[in-house]
């Protein structure tokens, strides 16, 4: 890898990610309080998640099932008899004084995730997943809100189930980290285990970053920095990129290596586009982990694992191969559609099934619909044109009943008018042109354009273009493809 600061210096950026994913359960991990977002402060708590003494937490079975789904989708080992541990630290938004988490026996471990190499779309990158463990979320602190700049605490989020996915340090650039995150989110969305809404904090990313610098004699590792709470993929990419440059500069100035200082936690300041020091990391023993005596282990039987596996929805990779195999889409088009999520993939599939024209269906979706969804900040489920209707339209174009320009007019009309294809054609004055009408048009144009026909016969293939345009002027409803076909028949037979 090269860098403008130091063209001669060889180094690698080493990135590992920790991703907190809020699981899509209705109730909290250990109590029946709702997990709804945006409710009035402290309206979704009970003695269990308030951490009052004498209460007993009970595990939400659905959180276990969703964690199993993620484990299965990422080729992970599911750990039967996984254990719950208490991670102790004191902070006002953690009412129990410890977070119930999983330390050395997480529910799933040792998986892998493949994604397209952002530097070369023909290649795939593989990242090993160290583990994914369940834990409860803390509450929310609002700093400097009170009189005297006091801190306000809202415990609604306390006890919400999180799955923390931890990768091995297998990523080698900010761009790879971003591509990995997109792929992970796509899988989680297809699984339906989380809404992955980063603005609402349903997916939060921490990145561990350092450099491996090679000089003539040795490879030097710089101290690891953890960047906390990256709340968008763009911020994750930029923060890692910033950290790469910062560490290189810092190493040049100080020569500081891994082990010469404790692991540092930094935050990303999106406005100033810098990372700033938050704290020097406490050692693991400082959390005084110990097994939670209130929660018995979760034993996963082979039957329960097989059941979850059988119920797993089709995953992005499976959709993608289906699209390239059955509908002959390019790897690129298939990826673009699949990365939009399950709703868009299903939409495409319906359009393709009805029209029997995968390539054309994909073009409509990637070129028209995705642009419109983006402009309108809309999801496909709210899009005014249903998949079946678009399928009918694409089918009409494929069968040369409509040309592309007229189809676009109908499409535009459908954005505001919930009418059928037949009604839309009537409204726009699009009539189906009969075979006889096409023949008459051909005869007239052949008679008026003998010179052009002769040119065509002498090998000037492009001579037909103006004739087709002329036909279109005479009858705007005629299909250029059908007219061309009839014209060629006429030329051949004379």
């Amino acid at each position: 890898m090269s860098n403008s600061l130091a063209p001669a210096l060889a180094y690698e950026t080493i990135v590992g990610l920790e991703i907190h994913v809020q699981l899509a359960t209705k109730s909290k991990l250990f109590c029946g309080c709702a997990t709804r977002y945006g409710q009035p402060p402290n309206s979704q708590t009970c003695p269990i998640c308030q951490g009052l003494p004498g209460t007993l937490p009970v595990i939400n079975q659905h959180a276990i099932e969703l964690a199993m789904d993620v484990g299965l989708a990422l080729d992970m080992e599911l750990v039967s008899g996984c254990r719950w541990d208490r991670k102790h630290y004191f902070y006002p938004d953690l009412p129990k004084g410890y977070q119930t988490s999983q330390y050395d026996l997480p529910i799933t471990r040792h998986g892998r995730l493949e994604f397209r190499d952002p530097a070369d779309s023909e290649k795939t990158c593989v990242v090993r997943i160290n583990r994914a463990h369940l834990e409860e979320d803390a509450g929310k602190s609002l700093h400097g809100e009170g009189i005297d700049g006091g801190t306000w605490i809202d415990l609604n989020r306390t006890g919400t189930p999180l799955l923390e996915v931890v990768t091995e340090p297998d990523l080698r650039s900010a761009q790879e980290a971003k591509a990995f995150l997109i792929q992970l989110r796509t899988i989680l969305l297809y699984l339906g285990v989380s809404d992955c809404n980063m603005q609402e904090g349903s997916m939060r990313v921490d990145a561990n970053v350092n450099l491996r610098i090679k000089n003539e004699t040795e490879t030097i590792a710089t101290p690891i920095v953890e960047i906390k709470n990256l709340n968008s993929f763009r911020n994750a990419e930029r923060a890692i990129e910033y950290e790469r440059e910062r560490q290189l500069k810092h190493w040049r100035e100080t020569g500081e290596r891994m082990g010469q200082r404790p692991k540092q936690t930094r935050g990303w300041d999106a406005d100033r586009e810098v990372t700033t020091v938050q704290r020097e990391k406490e050692e693991a023993a400082d959390y005084r982990y110990f097994p939670c005596p209130d929660l018995p282990p979760v034993v996963l039987s082979q039957t329960s694992i097989d059941q979850r596996r059988a119920q797993l929805p089709r995953l992005p990779q499976q959709w993608k191969s289906e699209f390239t195999r059955t509908w002959k889409l390019s790897e690129y088009d298939a990826s673009v559609i699949v990365e939009q999520g399950r709703d868009v993939a299903e939409y495409f599939e319906t359009v393709a099934q009805i029209s029997q024209d995968g390539k054309r269906s994909a073009n409509w979706i990637t070129q028209e619909i995705l642009r419109l969804l983006n402009e309108r900040q809309q999801s496909i489920s709210d899009f005014p044109i249903a998949a079946a209707k678009l399928g009918e339209l694409v089918s009409a174009v494929s069968n040369s009943e409509l040309d592309h320009a007229r189809a676009r007019e109908i499409f535009a009309l459908w954005l505001t008018e919930p009418i059928s294809l037949r009604e839309a054609k009537e409204r726009l004055g699009i009539a189906t042109v009969s075979g006889n009408e096409v023949e008459e048009l051909v005869n007239r144009i052949v008679a008026e354009n003998q010179a052009a026909i002769d040119d065509y016969r002498h090998g000037k293939k492009q001579a037909l273009g103006p004739l087709i345009a002329q036909a279109k002027q005479l009858n705007s409803n005629v299909s250029p493809a059908k007219f061309r076909e009839a014209l060629l028949r006429a030329i051949d037979s004379t």
Binding site: T25, K26, S27, C31, G32, C33, A34, P40, P41, N42, S43, Q44, T45, C46, P47, Q50, V58, N60, Q61, H62, A63, I64, G81, H88, F90, P92, Y103, D104, L105, N130, R131, S141, L142, H143, G144, E145, G146, I147, G149, G150, T151, W152, I153, D154, L155, E282, E283, A284, A285, D286, Y287, R288, Y289, P291, P293, L295, P296, P297, V298, V299
Partner: protein, 105 residues
């Protein structure tokens, strides 16, 4: 992941150990208290260490003391406390929030 050193659980208790625990628990103890905590903790840990003398070769390692597993509940929402109840024990409240002294990040 953070590394875990099992040896730390059997280290000797010193005044430094107490100071470290004070820091983690945001407590401030007198020198006299520290001294007595060193002695108390040494005794407690020494007593716990007597477990090591048990012969456990016929027992499989356990992750839990109670012979129960899979005690779980369905994903069903149950009524929460009212905001008034939730805030009832708080020394200071601000509207519907609990208020605590300023936390410096």
């Amino acid at each position: 992941m953070d590394s875990h050193n099992p040896a730390e659980t059997t280290q000797d208790v010193t005044v430094e150990t107490i100071c470290q625990l004070e820091r983690l628990a945001y407590l401030r103890l007198s020198d006299e208290d520290r001294g007595s905590f060193v002695n108390d903790l040494r005794k407690i840990l020494g007593y716990a260490r007597s477990l090591a003398s048990l012969d456990l070769k016929d027992f499989a390692p356990q992750t839990h003391a109670i012979d129960q597993d899979n005690v779980m509940r369905g994903d069903v929402i149950e009524p929460s406390s009212s905001v008034e109840e939730a805030l009832a024990n708080a020394p200071v409240v601000a509207g519907s929030f609990l208020q605590v002294p300023r936390v410096l990040e």
